[in-house]
């Protein structure tokens, strides 16, 4: 077997190759040019691939324009096989797990491998073709070696402004996808290394902040280029047959390990259901039903019986439901992330999400909030179902809302149009092991908040208050995490706001005797007014927490509170020392402690 660079195979293994090192000598380390695909070699390969994905992520973070990328980290970078199987990731955002392999796989199926040429970059944000929602853009770049397609580099991220009826492209009252922004089926943004200028012009003309789009798209493209270069160096060094076969073995390894973990769960059918308070268009709640079947070494998650898709944007796409189930299954099987995350982890998990239901929206139904605000609740629902099987491995409901706040306008200092998609931390649910985390962005997104300094530097809003909310975590043996509150002062003549908050009227549930967390709230105080009131009262919008394009003026203040986490276990079982600590640290007021923990809060005896 000859090596692509002309060297000869010297190792004893079928999958050994003697390649030309691009990495070894430049750093002065005596690095091997041969890779045996045994346990050690696979570990080396896994780390090499994972580091490529991590370097791609750094490129995105350091070169992007929008705070949602460089501060929020609302993106993931990946390497995939030539058939679209995930082989390595830097997954900042678990909500994208379902979309990442399927966007590539389904593009391959739709157009065939011959669609991809060297130097291409394909972009795709179609929620009906495997993406999470309209803002999420997946970019994929084929990696060729000696003229043969060997892999893909991928970058997926939330573009902060993609057009549609609301600045920030998050219309809480949208009734179809066309109000949500510019929809791109898989199309070539770069073709054989050259910008597809006609497509770029369409995109730039339809996004409100094209400069940000330009910067963020190029950050993604830069990440893909780095991924391509590093992966090519790896196959130059070890041989493409070794790397490709090694990646296949890693995927099989992960599948075996996850199946082994699933096999330890008790077989059975575990059902749970929940109501979601509204869809942004009507005030009617809708229902999600889920049965998780553990069958030997596989899991089937069946959403049959869930409500038909709703008019507003709380529907989610198929891959969002998929991500939520992966998330919950990984939480109960491999919370320490010891198994290499690749497509092998997805194989033992099947999801049934009827098309045309709230968990699998059909065209042209809207879905922007399904990703941010239904998905975390689907994770909670799956954990509530699995609590029947493994109560010691689950958590109560998280706040379950990304508390999406969108705003835009002309900046008074620059005269330039700006737009921002903002989210904030909420309370995580208490678990069998510990209290829930405070101020944590939803468990499906894993994003960071934006520092006040960055926020105020970029946008004409002053932060008057940013704090954890006392008494927001549900009481329990392990208390729910605290939510956050912010008060923002408008310092521009006008700013257009939209919001999609949830868990306002249906609070985050406790689990196994734990009490619910405190729901969310969104208020406004007009300049000169003494009181904060709901947006519905102030502006006559149908929902005070899901609305689009409300204009606030200089001196107005906006205040929100995100939802707190649900408590886990009976409050009677909480350690009195922890109750005292909570009171001392003002996490829990004395009044709430007396109400929820009774005698325990006063040092009394457990009844």
């Amino acid at each position: 077997m000859s090596h692509p660079k002309g060297g000869q195979v010297e190792g004893s293994s079928k999958w050994s190759a003697n390649g030309c090192s691009l990495l070894g000598t430049e750093h002065g380390y005596p690095m091997s040019e041969r890779l045996e695909l045994d346990g050690v070699g696979l570990h080396v390969l896994h780390n090499a691939l994972a580091n490529i994905a991590a370097e791609m992520a750094l490129v995105m973070m350091k070169t992007s324009y929008s705070t949602i990328f460089n501060e929020g980290l609302d993106f993931s970078t990946v390497l995939l096989s030539r058939t679209g199987e995930l082989i390595a990731e830097k997954n900042y955002t678990p909500s994208m797990m379902g979309a990442i392999p399927n966007t590539v796989r389904w593009t391959l199926e739709e157009f065939g491998e011959e669609f991809f040429e060297p130097g291409d970059v394909v972009v795709h944000n179609d929620p009906y073709r495997g993406n999470c929602h309209i803002p999420e853009h997946m970019m994929m770049k084929p990696i060729f070696h000696d003229g043969r397609l060997v892999a893909f580099a991928g970058a997926i991220g939330h573009i902060a402004e993609v057009g549609g009826k609301a600045p920030g492209s998050f219309a809480a009252d949208a009734t179809d996808v066309y109000q949500e922004g510019l929809r791109l089926p898989p199309v070539k943004l770069i073709e054989r290394g050259e910008h597809n200028q006609q497509l770029w012009r369409v995109i730039m003309a339809n996004h409100r902040t094209p400069r940000n789009t330009w910067g963020d798209f190029h950050a993604m493209i830069g990440a893909l280029n780095v991924g391509e270069q590093r992966f090519s160096a790896l196959v130059d060094r070890y041989g493409d047959d070794v790397v490709v076969e090694g990646a296949r073995l890693l995927i099989d390894h992960s599948e075996r390990r996850l199946r082994s973990d699933i096999a330890e769960l008790p077989d059975g059918a575990y059902a749970a259901s929940m109501l979601v308070e509204d869809d942004g268009v009507s005030r009617d709640p809708f229902e999600v039903r889920l049965t998780i079947v553990v069958r030997g070494d596989e899991v089937i998650a069946d959403f049959t019986g869930s409500s038909p898709q709703v008019a507003g944007p709380m529907n989610c796409t198929y891959v969002v439901a998929l991500s939520a189930i992966y998330n919950a299954v990984f939480c109960v099987t491999d919370p320490e992330m010891l198994i290499p995350r690749n497509s092998g982890c997805y194989r033992p998990v099947r999801v049934i999400a009827p098309a045309g239901s709230v968990v699998n929206v059909r065209h042209p139904g809207p879905s922007v909030g399904g990703n941010t605000d239904l998905q975390p609740k689907l994770v909670d629902l799956a954990l509530a179902a699995l609590a029947q099987a493994v109560p010691d491995r689950v958590a109560a409901s998280s706040g379950g809302s990304s508390s999406n706040l969108l705003f835009g306008g002309v900046h008074p200092e620059t005269g330039l149009y700006y737009s921002n998609y903002h989210f904030d931390g909420m309370g995580a649910g208490g678990s069998a092991r510990a209290d829930g985390n405070d101020g944590e962005v939803t468990r499906h997104s894993n994003c960071r908040n934006t520092p006040i300094e960055i926020f105020e530097h970029r946008y004409p809003l002053r932060t008057l208050e940013y704090a954890l909310v006392p008494d927001s975590g549900g009481a329990g043996a392990h208390r729910g995490g605290q939510s956050t509150t912010r008060t923002l002062l408008v310092t521009a003549p006008a700013i257009t706001f939209s919001a999609l908050f949830d868990r306002c009227r249906i609070a985050p549930a406790g689990l196994l005797g734990g009490l619910p967390g405190l729901g969310s709230e969104l208020l406004v105080r007009r300049a000169g007014s003494a009181e904060f009131v709901g947006f519905d009262e102030a502006f006559g919008v149908a929902s005070g927490t899901k609305f689009t394009n409300v204009v606030l003026h200089e001196g107005d203040e906006l205040r929100y509170r995100t939802p707190g986490g649900g408590g886990f276990g009976d409050p009677e079982d909480r350690d009195p020392a922890l109750i005292e600590r909570d009171i001392r640290e003002t996490r829990v007021s004395r009044e709430a402690a007396l109400r929820d923990y009774g005698a325990l809060a006063t040092g009394g005896e457990r009844s």
Partner: protein, 67 residues
């Protein structure tokens, strides 16, 4: 599994999508066709197995409105 792949040709200007009647996921171009009580076209061979071992025993036989 008993089925076979069938193509669902479409013109390049058609951007509509179709869903698997069993699991709900996308069928981009080709479908896996097998004959249960009636012919069904699903996303993959694995979905035929899912239908026979889980879906039908749990929810009853499915009639694919694609036909």
């Amino acid at each position: 599994v008993t089925g076979a792949w069938v193509e669902r040709p479409r013109v390049w200007s058609d951007t509509n999508v179709e869903h698997c009647p069993v699991c709900g996921c996308l069928i981009p171009r080709r479908a896996w066709r097998f004959v249960g009580e009636t012919p069904l076209e699903v996303c993959t061979p694995a979905c035929e197995e899912l239908y026979e071992t889980y879906y039908k025993p749990t929810h009853g036989a499915l009639v694919d409105d694609h036909h």
